[in-house]
Symmetry: D4
Subunit: 252 residues, 8 copies
Amino acid sequence: MTDPRLKAIIDAVVAGTLTPADAEARLAAAMRDLPFEDLGYARVDHHRVVRQGFPEVVFGQGKTPEQIAGIAERIVARGHTLLVTRANDAAFAAVSAAIPAAEWHAVPRCIVWRGAPPDPGHGTVLIAAAGTSDLPVAEEAALTAELMGNHADRLFDVGVAGLHRLLHARDRVDAARVVIVVAGMEGALPSVIGGLTASPVIAVPTSVGYGASFGGLSALLGMLNSCAAGVAVVNIDNGFGAAAMASKINHL
Amino acid sequence: MTDPRLKAIIDAVVAGTLTPADAEARLAAAMRDLPFEDLGYARVDHHRVVRQGFPEVVFGQGKTPEQIAGIAERIVARGHTLLVTRANDAAFAAVSAAIPAAEWHAVPRCIVWRGAPPDPGHGTVLIAAAGTSDLPVAEEAALTAELMGNHADRLFDVGVAGLHRLLHARDRVDAARVVIVVAGMEGALPSVIGGLTASPVIAVPTSVGYGASFGGLSALLGMLNSCAAGVAVVNIDNGFGAAAMASKINHL
Amino acid sequence: MTDPRLKAIIDAVVAGTLTPADAEARLAAAMRDLPFEDLGYARVDHHRVVRQGFPEVVFGQGKTPEQIAGIAERIVARGHTLLVTRANDAAFAAVSAAIPAAEWHAVPRCIVWRGAPPDPGHGTVLIAAAGTSDLPVAEEAALTAELMGNHADRLFDVGVAGLHRLLHARDRVDAARVVIVVAGMEGALPSVIGGLTASPVIAVPTSVGYGASFGGLSALLGMLNSCAAGVAVVNIDNGFGAAAMASKINHL
Amino acid sequence: MTDPRLKAIIDAVVAGTLTPADAEARLAAAMRDLPFEDLGYARVDHHRVVRQGFPEVVFGQGKTPEQIAGIAERIVARGHTLLVTRANDAAFAAVSAAIPAAEWHAVPRCIVWRGAPPDPGHGTVLIAAAGTSDLPVAEEAALTAELMGNHADRLFDVGVAGLHRLLHARDRVDAARVVIVVAGMEGALPSVIGGLTASPVIAVPTSVGYGASFGGLSALLGMLNSCAAGVAVVNIDNGFGAAAMASKINHL
Amino acid sequence: MTDPRLKAIIDAVVAGTLTPADAEARLAAAMRDLPFEDLGYARVDHHRVVRQGFPEVVFGQGKTPEQIAGIAERIVARGHTLLVTRANDAAFAAVSAAIPAAEWHAVPRCIVWRGAPPDPGHGTVLIAAAGTSDLPVAEEAALTAELMGNHADRLFDVGVAGLHRLLHARDRVDAARVVIVVAGMEGALPSVIGGLTASPVIAVPTSVGYGASFGGLSALLGMLNSCAAGVAVVNIDNGFGAAAMASKINHL
Amino acid sequence: MTDPRLKAIIDAVVAGTLTPADAEARLAAAMRDLPFEDLGYARVDHHRVVRQGFPEVVFGQGKTPEQIAGIAERIVARGHTLLVTRANDAAFAAVSAAIPAAEWHAVPRCIVWRGAPPDPGHGTVLIAAAGTSDLPVAEEAALTAELMGNHADRLFDVGVAGLHRLLHARDRVDAARVVIVVAGMEGALPSVIGGLTASPVIAVPTSVGYGASFGGLSALLGMLNSCAAGVAVVNIDNGFGAAAMASKINHL
Amino acid sequence: MTDPRLKAIIDAVVAGTLTPADAEARLAAAMRDLPFEDLGYARVDHHRVVRQGFPEVVFGQGKTPEQIAGIAERIVARGHTLLVTRANDAAFAAVSAAIPAAEWHAVPRCIVWRGAPPDPGHGTVLIAAAGTSDLPVAEEAALTAELMGNHADRLFDVGVAGLHRLLHARDRVDAARVVIVVAGMEGALPSVIGGLTASPVIAVPTSVGYGASFGGLSALLGMLNSCAAGVAVVNIDNGFGAAAMASKINHL
Amino acid sequence: MTDPRLKAIIDAVVAGTLTPADAEARLAAAMRDLPFEDLGYARVDHHRVVRQGFPEVVFGQGKTPEQIAGIAERIVARGHTLLVTRANDAAFAAVSAAIPAAEWHAVPRCIVWRGAPPDPGHGTVLIAAAGTSDLPVAEEAALTAELMGNHADRLFDVGVAGLHRLLHARDRVDAARVVIVVAGMEGALPSVIGGLTASPVIAVPTSVGYGASFGGLSALLGMLNSCAAGVAVVNIDNGFGAAAMASKINHL
């Protein structure tokens, strides 16, 4: 947290190019020029694009449309790309009233406004999904990966009960630099793909299932206990988080 | 529970070949000649071989060596095959003192005495195990299946992280009439095998694993949520139960 | 996955009945003639009828009506029997617009179109249900079993709190080749039936209950811990899965 | 908590048979003459025999042998019956050093010294156990019931997988005023017995089982969800608690 | 299950007062005259009033209004008291169309028709509830207890955070022959009441609470672990079950 | 529970300033003048302001609008401050019909009527919230704290993923006498704040999150396992409870 | 993290009392003079006594005796009070070899060396324990509280099943400034005490119990759901944590 | 799974350089030359070094010393690096008898034999551990990372309760290409580090803790719910798995 500007101010004072009073003023200004903006109900973290390579993403669930629109405006005002996940119609109405160019992505339920283009990633991020019911999560991952500058390859409905559907697409698996695997129910697909590829695999359990799937718990536990090496897991239905991890890897 | 002997007694009384007093005596005898034997601490169910096709099997856990030996003697005295599961050295010592020909099977921790040969099953029961650590459970299943008259084929260490090991043995999978699949950790193997074969699959989760395997819970949930049709599940580490189910199917 | 067609192509090349160029073309065609059809959002597995004895069944939950109708059309176009489980009115509207002869089964919430008649099973599949509230699951099992070519016998409301209702129907239990037992709450019925019959028992826990039934968990655990041999379990409310297992057994 | 002695003291002061100073002294004495005895590490509740009909019972687990012996001495000093549950050899050694007549009951692991005979109950308490492995819990219940003045009838190894063993003893079930049912694994026996008898049933789940029995959780949930009316449940392995409940009922 | 009528038939045949053919006919009649009535979707258990002292009670949840009305008609047709628990407006509309005298009890959501008066119990059943939010469950218990012939005393909002409210009513606690204690959240009230009274206590956890109450789990566990002797527990929100248990005890 | 009035009555009788008959009358009055008011469905605890420093607070969930309004009237009739938590529009309509000056606080869903001013606390209670979605819980805490006489400082959206937002406000953390920390998801904020301040920290997990947050369980467990000393936890979403604890501390 | 020393250095440079080179040197020294000491396997936090009012406490579990002794030496070398919790004989042997004056406290399993006397707290911390088996946890709390400068009052074996034992000691409850309540099983004691006192209550669930206590889970949930206001909870068996919280409050 | 050798054989047959008979023989040889070696109890996967970049790693838990030594010999015979995790003294004795150069690493309980040097990774893998008790897991990660060709930087005891210890080492965090964060208890460290760095973070929950840590569950849930983007999680105590993932990333 030690700020290099402090040292610069010292040097300037010593060099006589800065009076003590100006030094104090500049220190105060540095404090005002905070790396976040305080809206009362939110502190928008504008420095995140520097620290993390991508602006703050708005988690829409549990926020009012007004709060979402308020945060969105502050992000867009800086020219940063806007991504609101887990949004709904009311949130999109509020955001598009303020930002007419905002886009609504229905399948992953996301709001997007495209700002400065991101640094491009070095390879392809493959998003493999076990079943058609997993599409909302898989699309959230694919959209996020693309917004973060990655090329996304979608490979859907390749669950392990019909293994030939996956083996037929093995070249696409081999071609990917990072693989995101989305699956509900027993969550076995990451283990199978993890055994086939040398690329890192990010597993996303989904809440698709019923009964003893317990809202995605069975897929989550299956993935955490994967016998394949090189598999790591994110939260249930967290397509965004998987893509954020994949993008960090793909930008190394 | 209506006993055909009751009708026979009526008919005999009517036919005059049985006096009422004799009828009463024979009824009393029928009551004494119970389908179980009462040892106080246990009621040995000798009719099970009739109802279920195999004698009562002794669950060794939680019983004293003396109790196990006492029950074992009553079973062997009828010439029935003895199988004690989840036994230990002390139990085997007590049993072999009473039944010198008893065998100790170290890997599955079972005591066996072979009685009248069982009806042979119609095909092969394949026991597939995901890893070497699953062997105790897999061997309990294989031993039980054999004692019940089935041909058992053992296919071990074919977990999904190295899928080619399973695909290489696909003909053995196809040749089996019933498949028992034993796996811990994420428990994905039954889904993969269930997708390959038209035979019924009985899945056995094992407690092999650590951390979030929670004593076999992850494998159990994975198997219950299998996206493959034709898979049913037994309790964690229940190799015996899987073989009993397989044997009932294989004797149809 | 080694395809016998590869060997045939070798032989033909050697025999001079196939030029190398034609061999390449035929190999490419074999690749195109995939055992599945790619709709983008789904890969319909047309080979399943060969591998498993029944066409792919559509799990309706989490799919849009359009996706369900699209998949249904591809299945019916091949003359395969269509079964959509966990469907709703909107899904049926979309399917029947495309396939006017489709049937709606309200109690089990299934969509059906009857294609080529299946191979008949060898005996009767009994579906026993503990209570009236278990009927939706029990009917899903019965309908599935019938579509797969089995004779289904329905025995409902025979829970263990009034044991005489079950014992009265014991001949129907004895006559079945496979027994499916559907129960919620404490899930004790499979243990009782498993102790009475030599046929394999497939237990289906239901989410019927309240409080500490925890959505079917109590019935599930009860069935997994059954002290009766020859009982295996499927997922909570999974009537379809139980019937698929029963049908595989009944076709042996 | 208002004590009738307070009113008596008022009346005596008013009547002039007690001086204010004496009133104060008698109040102080009443405070000293507490219904419990303070040992620092324990407050022995000697009034419990009045409030509850049986002296305080010592839960041995987690107490040192010295603490157990110390509490035991205070109970025996009043001539009250001593019952220590969940004891071990060391605890018994310490107690018998202080109370030579103390008895050790090995199966239920209890220490007993018989004091003033209890009020006799009005009927028989039947203790039914599903399996031989449930004996330690069943014997704790039977011993406790007897010490509390009840006639106990032991009916062991009558689990639901061999229902005829229970039906054969149905007259003993019908003859009981209260029934305690002890079972592990799926815990189905209370539902079956609850459906047969008009007497209240107290269900005791045991930790007997493995895998998905989760230390008795499956039996507990099964019993709580019993579809039979007139069944209530105590903690896992709590034979003592079941007998305390049964005895209260049997003394009404 | 051995029926005394069988012996009577034997005796009559022997005595010559019954021909073998008549004996067969009477046996067949006995079989027809089943203790239940089969509606296809339900087997109404008319013998329960004999076995259990109260007619079958209809669990309304998960049944259609038509099924509930159909079962209700068969019960009322025998003059038995009707009690439907967990009902709703639609169910009451269907029932009252068929049985105009049916009553709707809004707080506990029950449908009632009063048939032959029950045997009166011997004392009072006290229903103590911790908070106002527990009233639906407490009223289900009170109504059931009254329908089963017991005098019910309602003592509401006496939770342990204001202990004086309970201690003030201690005479009503002491006067009860059986106590039902209904509580949500931490479920501590049964332990406190169990320590004060010598009567048996039946504890009913409720789903009242939020957060870590996990739908009544916290109250359930609290009650199962009660340190007071003479407390047994029923399922979460199971006011009916508690009253059925209490009534069995109160009729001893 | 020994009431000092009893001693005063004794002294007065002895002093001759009270006749025995008057003493009895005054005792009876004391009994009538109970510290609660019985509405049948509720026993309003008017003494709580004496015992606890704040009137009884009404937990709105699970109560009907009529019950809430009835209890509210009795509290306001004494001039006590009214606070109804977890209320809704219908409850507010019923309350404001009876108490026109009642206020509706929409974010925390509370009803308030301000009675006698409370004792002021000695310092500031800081309410720190990790994210915007946690505001309803944080505002419930802040409002409660203010009604109980404390100065509340709101510091929102300072979650650990952007640590500089918290460090920037460190002086406000240091200035607080008690800190309430509200967080969902991983619930890490109390550990970080607990490591920075010497003041006691009360952690409130929220149900904000999805997937493996399991309704706030992850945040709850995180806070209970905090490696920082001086952190204690209340129930999930229990802003009221945290403020009640904080206020007790702040009034010491 | 902005350090006031930085400003002092600026001022001194400006004032000419410090050369730029000396400023750099002093900055480097400030960096070396870290508030922790790095042992490789541990970073001993010597500043904690400043930030928190008490030195770092060593959590003994999972550390080797050598590691514990190494950390202990560094703490004692500064004259800080040493407290090692969850220690064992081997750890004490290693510590006392290095620090001969170290004390062993057997009941709470703690190692202590008394350094500079702490600031005294303002009142009494009462430690109430429900049962004798809870003593190890209660003593850990009492010892910690004393080492941190508080007067500790021990009130043991006052569980709710014998409420008079607690009510008898009500004056000690009223006299405490902070109350720590230690209880296992159903964990009801904090609710009862919380309803009696205006002081803040810190609840400590213990793992005392069996069966459905699930290692203290039942007590934990009970305490989190307490209906009494002014109760906050720490981790299971965390006597240390409760005392740290109490001490922070008692030093306000 | 299509093998390029098949095409080569076709071409050779066509070219006349291979007779059909030789083609068959070579096909058979290809089948024998399997990418695994079958030991009966294990199928050693020698191709894994090709598919995954590192030889098969032996999971020691649940295997006998003989099995471990047998597998180890087959790996070393090929010159592959041997790593056995979760080993013990007996396993090391058996392995070192066969492979004298095998090393024993006591802290992480691993057996190692160094074969052909691995491809070097491109940057540093930082292993940050929250506490001293987490060292066994952290060292398993560090050792694995090093064996796989990565430079490992160890940063231990930087838990969030003393945040300055981490901030002091921020340059080492910034310098790492991949960060592994190991933490038990509340598992908050990955969120804090994930917010500071742009590198991917792999979180490893450990079973360090007690009470409500439930064997690492609290840390696991905390990490899965991390509000920081770019964090993925492996199984509890799975240091090996984290390093395998990190190494795959570091070799991209």
